[in-house]
């Protein structure tokens, strides 16, 4: 084992971890002067994240060509692109976090440390070469999320959301773990490389049966994180109850990480696997798109609506694991980039509009927003149009690529269902737009007064909007980026 290569590949994670520990140690000293802490720590976090991003690109430049198969983590290019995306999401969140947390009176320096630790877990997920690493990464991510959800201790709904997610998440972890046990039993190893080699040689029917059972349970564990039907039941309640900024994080980063892990496991290291596992995953994709979209139609609460919409989007994403050629990971990366940026943007604006305590999140509260805050209304419309998949937004590019390459792989039925679904989805995505532009300001009860946009929020939302437009109008840059990054693997 070449330790230096490992540490080199892990440089961004080492930075983030060390930074997180430093923040944990630092916070008690800043306790006396809350003001100083609330200024220092967000800045420090941002610095650490940017440093990790720089480190990531440095690592990427002189990465050894061969993936380090004997380790339980691979800093290969596949994980590089996803780690970049994860760092980006964390940076956007940490930009916007301080004003939001202060408004909700839950500002803690530890929040930033948690963010960095969760990044560690997600990075481990995206580059994992061993089922045990995947499990631990998933748990770091989950436990961090449980804490984030429970952070607003006085809010009954947030409490309830945290508990629901905690209990269901633990159950899904148990399924995941049992799946690993099955795979371990069938192959005698948890390492992807070993599994791969064994699967190539093995023709034992019984072992395959056991293996398939394990893989199915592992899929269940990851599908829970992605909120795929029928493992989605937590999503709407948790999105509704949790503080909206945390939902913004929550609806994007874990999905990116879980999708990366799913891709790695089912598409990447198991080229043969998805044929047998594919059928039920296909049904799950169809169910997620259809039910997610149908359920979203009748929601009055915008957060719940976006929760169901993200279920539908997870259904679209699953198509990527069936894609059987080089474009699979590029396609997925582009889709996740667009998805996370538009979701982040929409939720950040919502968290700004919802007022203290996240109370104003129904469609009614958006009425006449275009009169009061034309800029915010226009940006929210942009994100919603992107979620719909209107051309010249990132959402269109992403869907076009995903569906196009899925069709090239012969997934005709799935693509037709997906395209029809995304046609239907316009119905509910446009309802907030209608309310903002076409409904008069409500007389009473008057919605919360929207404060001037804090600079952090402005930067965060601006980043998301820029990414969406960039991806929509000039996607070549990102496509080349993703292709270049993923090329080294082939």
């Amino acid at each position: 084992m070449n330790d230096s290569i490992l540490y080199w590949a892990l440089l961004p994670e080492i930075l983030a971890g060390a930074g997180g520990i430093f923040i944990v140690l630092l916070t008690p000293f800043l306790r006396g002067s809350r003001d100083r802490g609330s200024r220092l720590i967000p800045g420090l976090t941002l610095l650490i994240l940017l440093g990790a991003m720089v480190a990531l690109f440095t690592v990427a430049r002189d990465l050894p060509q061969s993936p380090m198969k004997e380790l339980s983590f691979s800093g290969d290019t596949f994980s590089l692109s996803f780690r970049f995306l994860l760092l980006l999401i964390c940076a956007v969140i940490s930009l916007a976090a301080r004003p939001f947390l202060e408004r909700e009176e839950i500002f803690r320096g530890e929040f930033y440390a948690l963010l960095l630790f969760i990044y560690l877990g997600m990075a481990l997920l995206s580059g994992s070469q061993d089922l045990l690493s995947t499990f631990v990464g998933l748990e770091v991510l989950s436990i961090g999320c449980y804490i984030l959800l429970g952070l607003k201790r006085s809010d009954l709904r947030a409490n309830e959301a945290a508990w629901k997610y905690f209990l269901l998440g633990s159950i899904s972890s148990a399924f995941f773990l049992y799946g690993i046990a099955m795979v371990f039993g069938a192959t005698g190893s948890t390492r992807y490389a070993d599994l791969f080699a064994l699967m190539g040689s093995h023709s034992d029917k019984q072992a395959t049966l056991l293996l398939n059972c394990g893989l199915a349970l592992i899929f269940v564990g990851l599908a829970f994180k992605l909120a795929l039907v029928p493992f989605h039941s937590w999503a709407a309640d948790v999105y509704e109850g949790a503080p909206s900024l945390i939902v913004a994080f929550f609806s994007t980063a874990p999905k990116v990480a879980a999708m990366a892990a799913l891709m790695r496991f089912f598409n990447f290291h198991f080229p043969r696997m998805h044929y047998s596992a594919g059928h039920f995953a296909g049904w799950i994709a169809v169910a997620s798109m259809t039910l997610g979209n149908l359920a979203a139609i009748s929601q009055q609460n915008v957060k719940r609506m976006l929760a169901y919409s993200s279920i539908a989007h997870a259904g679209y994403m699953i198509l990527a694991i069936f894609i059987d050629n080089e474009t699979a990971d590029t396609t997925l990366f582009i889709y996740l980039l667009a998805y996370s940026m538009m979701n982040l943007g929409a939720f950040l604006i919502l968290s700004l509009l919802s007022g203290k305590g996240d109370l104003c999140v129904s469609l009614h509260d958006l009425s006449g927003l275009a009169e009061r805050r034309p800029g915010l209304a226009a940006l929210l419309s942009l994100f919603l149009l992107s979620l719909t998949g209107i051309p010249l937004t990132g959402g269109f590019t992403a869907k076009f690529y995903l569906f196009g390459s899925a069709l090239k792989n012969g997934l005709v039925g799935l693509v037709i269902i997906a395209v029809l679904n995304s046609a239907v989805s316009a119905y509910y995505y446009l309802r907030p737009v209608v309310h903002m532009y076409m409904k008069p300001l409500p007389e009473s009860p008057s919605p919360a007064e929207v404060p001037p946009v804090p600079i952090g929020f402005a930067l965060a939302i601006g980043t998301a909007a820029l990414a969406i437009l960039w991806l929509g109008i000039l996607p070549s840059f990102w496509l080349e980026f993703a292709e270049k990054v993923n090329l080294a693997l082939k």
Partner: protein, 166 residues
């Protein structure tokens, strides 16, 4: 002899779990779970994994369950007043439980002969701390490091969530 021991401990284990399921008081539930875990530790010994047995006792039965008991004592909740929709839930739970067990059992039993003669067995021996330590710090180094972060995070989280005044 081994077989009889297996039967005894698995019987204790299942009985404890059933007791947990139909017990009203949460304290007794926790205690039955402790019994279940202890018998599992004995089963680990039968499987020649003394290290696993030891940490099962120390971490699970010792630390985690004591934490549970401690919280039960701290909160002193009302006893479980039965489920709100008892019949339907009992029915649903039974059907679901039986079919889940049946499905897993079918998978396992279909691959039984493979499990008995499947992959080559290395020289059977006791799995003690040495073997575990070697594997832990070589192959499983990265998960181990991540677990370190995980525990730090959990500590932090417990304080953030439950401490009265922060």
């Amino acid at each position: 002899m081994e077989f009889i021991l297996f039967l005894i401990f698995s019987f204790i284990c299942i009985a404890a779990v059933l007791n947990m399921l139909f017990q009203k008081e949460s304290v007794y539930c926790a205690l039955s779970l402790v019994v279940c875990m202890a018998s599992l530790a004995c089963l680990y010994l039968l499987l020649q994994a003394p290290f696993a047995a030891a940490i099962q006792i120390i971490i699970y039965a010792g630390a985690v369950m004591v934490l549970f008991l401690f919280v039960i004592m701290l909160l002193d909740p009302r006893s479980d007043s039965g489920s709100g929709r008892p019949r339907r839930m009992l029915f649903l739970a039974t059907v679901l439980g039986i079919s889940l067990f049946a499905a897993l059992a079918v998978f396992l039993s279909r691959s039984q002969s493979f499990l008995n003669s499947g992959h080559p067995k290395p020289a059977a021996g006791q799995i003690g701390a040495v073997e575990v330590g070697l594997a832990l710090f070589h192959r499983y180094l990265i998960p181990l490091e991540a677990v370190g972060i995980l525990i730090l995070m959990a500590t932090l989280g417990a304080v953030l969530l439950a401490k009265k005044k922060i």
